[in-house]
Symmetry: C2
Subunit: 264 residues, 2 copies
Amino acid sequence: MATGRTHRPATRSRGIPEATVARLPLYLRALTALSERSVPTVSSEELAAAAGVNSAKLRKDFSYLGSYGTRGVGYDVEYLVYQISRELGLTQDWPVVIVGIGNLGAALANYGGFASRGFRVAALIDADPAMAGKPVAGIAVQHTDELEHIIESNGVSIGVIATPAGAAQQVCDRLVAAGVTSILNFAPTVLTVPDGVDVRKVDLSIELQILAFHEQRKAGEETGPEGGAPTTSGRPAAVAAAAEAAVAGERKGPDGDVPAVMPA
Amino acid sequence: MATGRTHRPATRSRGIPEATVARLPLYLRALTALSERSVPTVSSEELAAAAGVNSAKLRKDFSYLGSYGTRGVGYDVEYLVYQISRELGLTQDWPVVIVGIGNLGAALANYGGFASRGFRVAALIDADPAMAGKPVAGIAVQHTDELEHIIESNGVSIGVIATPAGAAQQVCDRLVAAGVTSILNFAPTVLTVPDGVDVRKVDLSIELQILAFHEQRKAGEETGPEGGAPTTSGRPAAVAAAAEAAVAGERKGPDGDVPAVMPA
DNA sequence: ATATGTGAAGGGTTTCACAGCC
DNA sequence: GGCTGTGAAACCCTTCACATAT
């Protein structure tokens, strides 16, 4: 299996729920915006609206961090910004390497959202010798041969993989062997890592597929709870399915319609 | 608040849990790989390993789709590929527009994972007149003025926003007004959309922040369950915390350390 | 003998609603 | 009066373990 165990027993002390951790960056962004507008305090209701969550959830989330609000008043913006930053570990510097400087890697290198938080792009690494030395986002790309050296001399613990799928596992292994313990993976592969290494995955095509699922539902709705043939979509739809879809050579199913399985 | 209601009562008939839907693309990818290697059948155990989940979960997920396996044998690869593709709506053609052709937009346009599923990039749109006509990934970029026209004449229902944060809401409004009902948002903003429109968000900096949180934990572990001053990290770490942190005028908490809240 | 399909148990997350404090 | 902080309820998701089918 991919990551070591699903449970993350590691720390356990002071347990902040994963779901809460995943929302802290959202709150932080909303708070930063308020801070820039010099707003001194916010209510849970206002902040929740700005972050796109509901206020009860937000208050519960904050309750895991401590009692940082004032009843009857709200939260002090600056103070909360600091507390959340600290909780997330953003008050320290995080050198990051990006491996695979194709379109995506270059986009990541240029992404402003990193530097504005505690992240610093320590190096850009690519396997193509022709890329070596070329500047991307003001940083000279280095060859993969340098990987171990770069990781070690910069004390990098977070790596970003933006290589083609085929190279991802190998790059991952080298990063881990050199000391990286957190990986953000953009390659469409399941990475296998030893226990103690965290992997997060961002997969563009998966997100689109989830949208397509819901979109299909919406379309089917209008004609009733049926699947309907393709191009049944509610909107003028378009271009009958160029069907370049690599679907499969053959299909056993009745034909291509609603199974209406719905288990007991 | 952002999206209309959290509940999605819309269809209700044949309810597949959200968590299951989010994993179907993973299974599909693993199955496609098996299919290309001409593997005829897989057990839940094998497929689960390839997809990076546990086998009980996989079987439960498939049980929502119907009984597509054979006891004592396993699942027919081709058949499952077809069933999941259909369930996700990938047997039909989904024209997609990408708005904002900067580094990220270009990376998305070039991303192979779209075309290989049912997605087709119908148009690339950018606000910069200088971009108009320039080919990216073999498609000529069009100006934002054309947005409504493009959406309508192509029957586009899925839009991808890769603009700067400041432009995202406005672009979103225009997409929705023109008929788009699913949006994949890469801009670091909370989008407000009317009921019936789905938004999924991908935020690069948020993913890194979540990793940083866990990374900090790991570092703190070695010295004991304390917050510790910055640069306490386990690894050589680096460059003492430029402390650009907008700290705060004052702090109510004890000092800056473990609140040890842990509710009863 | 082997591997699926699924009730039931368990754990986590969200929401409610109100006590507590300003 | 207003708004936070939080037990308790409701909900969702995961995991277990075994009946069921080949």
